[in-house]
């Protein structure tokens, strides 16, 4: 070993250690630059996905509003149906009344037949009476004709009544059908919609639970990133350690040429200690880097594991919410829209059929009116019966030969009066039915108009509810988008840190090589010293403490000073532990 070789070694070591210090600093500072940005990105992402609760609440609110709307509509339809049923019952009762018309007409028919018999009897008596009877035969003819007309009219009234009853029965049957369809329709719709809304609510709750879980797990990524940032501070200690090694190496000066033996032995004793001191400090620096590396690696593994797990969960969640995915919100919303649309068509079709049914009321009115007119035409017939009766009584009064017909004339008058009575009753029945039916028709029409308004309002309300549901679904979709907290750059950074950790490994290897060179140097110095000691017949030489004291006096880390204390009685005092807080 000569001074020049030592100087070259010193220069090479210092330069290399400065390079190691710089590279270490670059690695730590790079992480120190990047990880706060990642944490900020994470915080922003977490803040953005906070809206999920509000989005879910608005979806639940929208479904509740829509359900309330449907329930209100259900109640209104039930109330309407109740009204319709009572009106139909009233119509049924009236139709029952109308059937009593049949018996009234039958009585008129019976009386008409009796009247016809009377006319035949009158004709026989008239034929026997000779000349006076001839005039009377005209009256008998008229009586027969009128009786015949009466029978025809009763048949017509009978048919008219039957037709009217049939028409009313058809009308009420169609309304009953409509009611039943309406009831079944709303009941089916309600049960389907309730199922759909339950699916929507459950789906949104599940989505929120999963998004909350994603958020909670996302927040877990922060811990390891913070740990990395806390660990970054150790670069300061590493730099100071390497500075101490460099300061120590710079003391490696050897003048092989000269000086007294004592000076040479003192120098060699000092030189012998320095490589070992460097090695101890370097080892401490290496331990520090290894510890940091372990923290970086563990933190990175934890963060990466959580992120990968999160991405897998999120991908699955996104798939579950894609349009067409079974049990996703889109699925339920599409079903809801389908149901609303089907229900809308159904109610509109029912409305049209109800309108049609109500329009048939005009036909019913006409039929009823024609029946009334038919009955009223009995008036003419009755007038004729009265005229025939009067003519008969005149003829009987004039001709004694016709006196046997007195009883017939009385009977004729009595029959005419009975028929009049029956007819009045029949007209009364028809008039009462007609009046009642008119009231029912008006109620149906009024109700139909109210229902049309209600249907319109309901459709409008449903359409708005669907819009709100779509909006809420959109907000949930946004929350799902916002749950994509980790950008590609975020994940790339993990790979960059992997590369930095490899650099740290290389620097540790470099430090191992420096330690080996320092050990070799120490061995060389020890050999020279031992040779000198042997030549001088000495066994040992005490280390001069002053230079070592001065050297470690420049150290800023107590532990490094303590390393030096093993070779000399140095004044290094006492110290507190790292991380210790002392308040004065």
């Amino acid at each position: 070993m000569d001074s020049q070789t030592l100087e070259q070694l010193r220069g090479a070591l210092v330069s290399s250690l400065k390079g190691i210090s710089r590279s270490t600093e670059e690695v730590y500072l790079r992480m120190g630059d990047v990880y706060p940005a990642l944490v900020a990105e994470l915080d922003t992402g977490l803040k953005m996905s906070e809206g999920v609760g509000a989005a879910q609440e608005s979806l639940v609110r929208a479904t509740s509003q829509a359900l309330r709307l449907i329930e209100d509509r259900d109640s209104a339809i039930s109330a309407n149906l109740q009204g319709t049923r009572s009106r139909l019952a009233e119509l049924d009762r009236q139709i029952g009344q109308l059937e009593t018309l049949e018996s009234g007409v039958a009585l008129i028919r019976d009386d008409s037949s009796l009247m016809k018999l009377l006319s035949l009897n009158a004709m026989v008596i008239a034929a026997k009476a000779g000349n006076p009877g001839r005039a009377f035969s005209c009256i008998s003819d008229e009586l027969q004709r009128t009786s015949h007309q009466t029978l025809e009219l009763t048949n017509r009234v009978d048919q008219g009544q039957k037709a009217l009853v049939r028409s009313f029965e058809e009308f009420t049957a169609s309304l009953v059908d409509l009611n039943e369809e309406s009831t079944t329709g709303i009941s089916d719709f309600m049960s389907r919609v309730k199922e759909i809304f339950a699916g929507l609510n459950q789906g949104s709750e599940d989505l929120v639970v999963q998004l909350d879980s994603l958020r909670a797990q996302t927040a877990e990524v922060k811990g390891p990133l913070v740990s990395i940032m806390v660990e970054i501070q150790n670069q300061d200690r590493i730099r100071q350690g390497l500075d101490h090694v460099i300061s120590t190496i710079e003391e490696l000066v050897w003048d092989e040429g000269g000086g007294a033996l004592e000076v040479q032995l003192s120098n060699l004793s000092y030189l012998e200690v320095l490589p070992e001191l460097c090695r101890l400090v370097l080892e401490e620096v290496q331990d520090q880097i290894r510890h940091n590396r372990e923290v970086f690696t563990c933190s990175l593994q934890t963060a990466r594991g959580v992120v990968q797990n999160l991405q897998a969960q999120r991908a699955s969640l996104v798939r579950s919410q894609e349009p067409g995915a079974a049990l996703g919100l889109d699925h339920w919303l599409a079903l809801g829209e389908q149901q609303f649309s089907a229900f809308d068509e159904h109610t509109q079709a029912l409305g049209r059929r109800q309108d049609l049914a109500l329009r048939t009321t005009s036909v019913l009115r006409r039929t009823a009116r024609s029946l009334v007119e038919s009955l009223q035409s009995f008036d003419t017939i009755l007038a004729r019966f009265r005229s025939v009766g009067l003519a008969a009584r005149i003829q009987i009064g004039r001709h004694a030969s016709l006196s046997s017909m007195q009883g017939n004339a009385t009977e004729m008058t009595s029959l005419t009066q009975r028929m009049e009575s029956h007819m009045t009753r029949c007209i009364g029945v028809i008039a009462s039915f007609f009046g009642a039916a008119e009231g029912v028709f008006r109620s149906f029409q009024d109700e139909s108009a109210v229902q049309a308004d209600q249907d319109q309002a309901f459709r409008q309300g449903l359409s708005e509810a669907l819009s709100r549901l779509r909006e809420a679904k959109g907000a949930l979709d946004e929350s799902l988008d916002d749950s994509e907290v980790f950008s590609a750059a975020f994940l790339d950074q993990f790979s960059l840190t992997d590369a930095d950790l490899e650099i740290l490994d290389q620097l540790l290897d470099e430090m191992d090589k420096k330690k080996k060179r320092l050990e070799d140097l120490k061995a060389q110095v020890s050999r020279i010293k031992q040779d000198l000691l042997a030549a001088a017949g000495l066994s040992d030489w005490k280390l001069p403490e002053g230079r070592l004291q001065t050297l470690v006096g420049r150290f800023t880390i107590f532990r490094h000073k303590a390393f030096a204390a093993r070779w000399a009685d140095l004044e290094i005092g006492s110290a507190t532990e790292a991380g210790e807080v002392t308040l004065f």
Partner: protein
């Protein structure tokens, strides 16, 4: 109210790490890389706490502490020395200069935040 903390250290890694930890819990943090830069920043605002390294170029932590204690505006501002120096005689020097407390690097985040809360509150 947000507390203002002045962090003084010539190590960029310490500034990054300490600044990050303090900002994470809501402190407003301003960074200076040596004592001289810190003296300029001190005049620009009121500070709830100064955390300073000991060994720095231009003006060290002890010099900065003395400077702060001489300033009427910052006479009572708490000062924490954060350093790798753990010797008791150094701590005594810091105390004599007017420091409020001493933390040996590397800091433990929880312990540091506890004392920061106490001093800046």
């Amino acid at each position: 109210m947000v507390k203002n903390i002045l962090v003084v250290d010539d190590s960029q890694a310490i500034r990054q790490s300490l600044g990050f930890v303090l900002k994470q819990v809501g402190y407003e943090v301003v960074l200076a890389s040596d004592g001289l830069e810190a003296t300029k920043l001190l005049e620009m605002a009121d500070w709830d706490l100064v955390i300073s390294d000991l060994n720095m170029p231009q003006m060290d932590g002890i010099g900065l502490t003395r400077h702060i204690r001489q300033s009427p505006r910052h006479k009572f501002t708490p000062i924490l020395i954060l350093t790798t120096e753990s010797q008791l005689d150094m701590m005594q020097a810091g105390k004599a200069a007017g420091a409020t407390g001493w933390i040996v690097k590397p800091f433990v985040a929880d312990k540091l935040l506890e004392v920061v809360k106490k001093l800046s509150g």
